[in-house]
Amino acid sequence: MAFLSEEKIIELQKKANDIRISIIEMLLTAGSGHTAGPLGMTDIFTLFYFHILKHDPKNPSWEDRDRLVLSNGHICPVLYATMAHAGYFPIEELKTLRKFGTRLQGHPHREYLPYVENSSGPLGSGLSQAAGMALADKMDKKDKDRFIYCFMSDGELNEGNSWEAIMLAGKYKLRNLIAIVDRNNIQIEGVTEEIMPLEPLADKWRSFNWHVIEVGGHDFVSLNQAVEEAQAIYEKPTVIIAHTIPGRGVRAFERNYKWHGKAPNKEEAEMALKELRQNA
């Protein structure tokens, strides 16, 4: 990881826009899937796969790679699109999302697509898997060599399993574990604070002995700084609560929970693609 130059930021912005276009195209072809979460997390995925992560798309099983665990598997269109753009598999393959025989299952399955670190879908279990990875590295004294990242949603903080993992990571002071919470304030049936309030969310994590950073989820410079700070914290795990706009990039989808769990139809997709292509 390094300093973000002006040129790099422009490159990341362009890449993120391309990935958003791929997400809309995939969802249209699939006819089902989640829209708001993937678009909202695109900038973070782009920053990680094109700047932060220690990884090698040509050698996906490289032992020393950082591990990125996606907990809320339903946002996998952004994972698949980013991985394809990073060179893990052909971009053309994105059109097979959710189709019979695809490697791109509706929720990620490691047996079909070995480049993902874990199979996921049912919520609340990703952070504990990431904590297990971080614990194993701590045991093997490899916790200074690589980081274990867990991308998770705010809605899945309703799950008890999430808090069990948060408690354990605090107990074992897993400095190599960095969680990124997609704080987009929506879940499938509505706004998080109406369904099951999470606030004061930062205080909750802090009280479980985590280092907490709050940051805007679409600004590469501050996101990059947040990750650098997380990596510098030595005695605790860190959570980056990233405030994102669900549906980011397509004005009609932004901040509307109704786009959490559905895919655009042809008209909606065309409108979205038109808007995104104007940015290109």
């Binding site: 049912p122 297990g132 614990l135």
Partner: protein, 336 residues
């Protein structure tokens, strides 16, 4: 007679036959597996002594993770450790793991193909006074239904030790079922344990058996006692049986089960589990497809457990020696 090839415990019929809980055998086996392979790690949900994982934890404190009373975390953290090359054993009571965390086991271990061994202690009705909430009678069914999951239910502490050491080396995720109460030691250190193979523990001295008894777990001992009594009756009442120890419920030894059914043409199942979905259901699936014969099931008949001593409960729930004998006579009547 006891199968002479298997070097079973000769004291099996004596009052002073040693009684050791299978969980203790597991604890000893895990300590040995930990010596053999430094990747073996132990995780526990606040029941380290009760599940005998302390035998490992005391020896390898740096390889032991205490997750607290959090069974969902227990297995998912184990999944993550397995992803980094560890061989995690995670123990709790069967009612909580796999009882409470079944979906996490399904998604993050069997579907995700991570080599984790789930250790469910205090299974079955013999848990006794703790009562129905703590008596897991559905765990074999829950676990054998999962693709990519082996299931082992050792018949005694020695077999539990061997099974534990074996499961540290097998490629697939696995569930091992253990009991709380001391149970008679049926095997010896010399008895072979071949994972995936079922063995005949009791057989007639001469001639063929009339009924095959397939037993699993702690009730194998009672099945052998019943078999001996049936054979010692006067000639008009005498029934010759074979008793199979089916500790490896998945993978299941199809060949051995079919061979037994072909010889006896009548099968009695003995297990400390709901009849629905347990080992007997697995055997019925095998026989219905290969060689259907009449079957009787000694097990829990769609009820929950309750408080009591193990002996009281075994009688109340119809899993004692006499119930096994009754089932043998009943299935004999049904033979074509």
């Amino acid at each position: 007679m006891l199968n002479p090839k298997l070097k079973l415990n000769p004291k099996i019929f004596n009052q002073d036959c040693e009684q050791i809980p299978t969980r203790k055998g597991f604890g000893e086996g895990l300590a040995l597996a930990g010596e053999a392979d430094s990747n073996v790690v132990g995780l526990c949900a606040d029941l380290t002594e009760s599940t005998a994982m302390n035998l490992f934890a005391d020896k390898f404190p740096e390889r032991f993770i205490q997750v607290g009373v959090a069974e969902q975390n227990l297995v998912t953290v184990a999944s993550g450790m397995a992803a980094m090359g560890k061989i995690p054993f995670c123990s709790s009571y069967a009612m909580f793991s796999p009882g409470r965390n079944w979906e996490q086991i399904r998604t993050t271990i069997s579907y995700n193909d991570r080599k984790v061994v789930i250790v469910g202690s205090h299974s079955g009705i013999l848990v006794g006074p703790d009562g129905g909430t703590h008596q897991a009678l559905e765990d074999i069914g829950l676990m054998r239904m999962l693709p990519n999951m082996d299931v082992v239910n050792p018949c005694d502490a020695i077999e539990a030790k061997k099974a534990t050491m074996t499961l540290a080396k097998t490629p697939k995720p696995a569930y091992i079922r253990l009991g709380r109460a001391p149970s008679p030691v049926v095997t010896t250190e010399e008895t072979p344990f071949n994972f995936g193979k079922a063995e005949i523990f009791w057989m007639p001295d001469v001639s063929l058996a009339q009924v095959g008894i397939i037993a699993t777990g702690g009730l194998v001992h009672r099945a052998i006692l019943a078999a001996k009594e049936l054979e010692s009756q006067e000639e008009s009442e005498r029934v010759k049986t074979k008793v199979m120890n089916l500790s490896s419920i998945k993978p299941i030894d199809v060949n051995a089960i079919v061979v037994l059914a072909k010889e006896c043409k009548a099968i009695v199942i003995v297990e400390e589990h709901q009849v629905a979905g347990g080992m007997g259901s697995a055997v019925a699936e095998v026989l219905a497809q290969n060689f259907p014969v009449p079957m009787e099931f000694v097990g829990v008949q769609d009820r929950f457990g309750q408080s009591g001593t193990p002996d009281e409960l075994i009688e109340e729930y119809g899993m004692g020696k006499d119930s096994i004998k009754d089932a043998v006579r009943k299935v004999l009547q049904r033979k074509l």
